[in-house]
Subunit: 358 residues, 2 copies
Amino acid sequence: MTLVLSNDDVENLLTMPDCIEALETAYKDLAVGRGITRQRSDCIAPTSYSDEAIYGLKSMDGVVPALGVGAIRINSDIVTNPRIGNTQRRVKIPAAPGNRYVGLVLLFSTANGEPLAIFPDGVLQHIRVGATNGLGVKYMARKDASVMGLLGSGWQAETQLTAAAAVRDIKEVRVFSPTRENCEAFAKRMAETTGIDVRAVEHPEDAVRGADIAMCGSNSIDPIFFKDWMEPGMHVSSIKKPEVEPDAILAADRVAVHTHDTSPILVVAEGAPFKEEAKEKGWNAAKSLDFSKYPTIAELIIGRGTGREKDEEITCFLNNLGLGFQFAAAGSVIYKRAVERGVGHELPTDWFTETVHP
Amino acid sequence: MTLVLSNDDVENLLTMPDCIEALETAYKDLAVGRGITRQRSDCIAPTSYSDEAIYGLKSMDGVVPALGVGAIRINSDIVTNPRIGNTQRRVKIPAAPGNRYVGLVLLFSTANGEPLAIFPDGVLQHIRVGATNGLGVKYMARKDASVMGLLGSGWQAETQLTAAAAVRDIKEVRVFSPTRENCEAFAKRMAETTGIDVRAVEHPEDAVRGADIAMCGSNSIDPIFFKDWMEPGMHVSSIKKPEVEPDAILAADRVAVHTHDTSPILVVAEGAPFKEEAKEKGWNAAKSLDFSKYPTIAELIIGRGTGREKDEEITCFLNNLGLGFQFAAAGSVIYKRAVERGVGHELPTDWFTETVHP
């Protein structure tokens, strides 16, 4: 049987600690070159949705021999680039029937090639980002870290919080985001679900001052964490490159990154109103930043490179780029749990396999 | 609804003339850069299937704005490399439950991103190769070509024959393949299904001598068509690079290729007993062969480059590499016909879309 799972299924089946554990196992494979991942590719074309929109067919994949799975993640997106204020924003439109997005993960067995499961990527996309930064905390933050400053109050912030709490005994979280109302609602909700003392604060400095762990979990394309805010013993973490000011990265005692992989393969059609995203605003100035010189989280996990040696060191983990590999690693847990619990729509595997030699 | 179709469905829904027409439309998009295609990627990893086998997760994709579709083709393969005689062969093992192969095409709408259909790649894989060479015949062979020499009697040979017959009034086919019995069975079957005079011959020279069209449709990794066999007015065609001796290509008056795309992206894991295939045996010697200087079939279709100017010219079409783009183009026809005829398993599109922002 091939399982078709929903985002709700994924949410119920995959806990943050499970995801962190699966990634940790998988990264050991990756670090020694036994696990592999293929850089994302983006095919960008015109769409009849509107003259200003683009159609994007994106994919990334990876194989985790240690877990016996391979996975491909596919996105089929309608994207617009509205100007909001002075900034060009990139907005994904839920244009599929029922106002829905299209993102899928297909999970395969490396033992016999069979398609094990198909599920949407949304929930896992969120969890795997958090889990990755959770590993950053596990291998780089002080063992006794208990106070967290959190910048952002969206879904990224939520998984950053739960991931950190999965690897450290977090007792206090101070969260800042620009819209006070969102920030307070987030703090209230997270306090309830985690049992941790989560409080909204008025300024970002109030969040990070004196924190053992400062985590960025925003959708900002500008820096939101600055060198001046660094304190001895702090662990700083970002979910994408621009969040932490380059000078702050340079000032850290130890830096690690998610991956040394390069940018996606980009294939852009004539006539597609594609605007290169201003993703790395202010970033290109920091020429001194050569990511390839920093160890990856996978290397830290197998002890090649050191996350932290002394309590007073300032550490910094940059979750610079996602990997298809992560969907395979976490997918293996989702599939295992789904089978154990009898969750999902079971479709005949014959529908997705063939007797004709391909 | 998202349609799940079978190979049988695809075979019933997609005729060779329809596939040729869809590719022709799509290649017009491709030639002007509006249609796009992403080179194949191969992730090669160890498998528990056996120590000698490898697991391959392969994908290619493309978007055809003119047809309103994008597609990704995925293969999840168990592959062994047995030595047969003096040659290392590459053998795909049908290791999935029920002794089946795993190859899938996912078709998406560029209008709203929705997943339109999922179907196995096997039958389409065969038809699209034939259809591509059919376009080679259409744009390069003499208008009055009627006699065909065919080298090979497997599925590749079958679609070569039906493709040529779809674009020229083929009256006689002489077919050669090394195993006489297979060759005769093929000739008998094809004569019955096409109504054409198809005859098995004893030597390859008997097949191609005096033929208007000489088509290679073999699984050979060595040349099977030679310069000495060329005659004025002939159109020579191959389904992969090694079939036609490099000297023969150099001797042709006009040469066209399927694509200028480069080799697949190859990501090989440590510990995978991967053997670079001897795909291009004897080929690397022919340094003078620069494929980028030959027009592509897409360019010929829009009149950029000339397929044939005079009856006495010798033309040569090399179907050098497949494209994910082809699966989108042909997929659009399969989907359209399936909807018209109510074929396939209808699954809720909601299963493959999401409300969570990916």
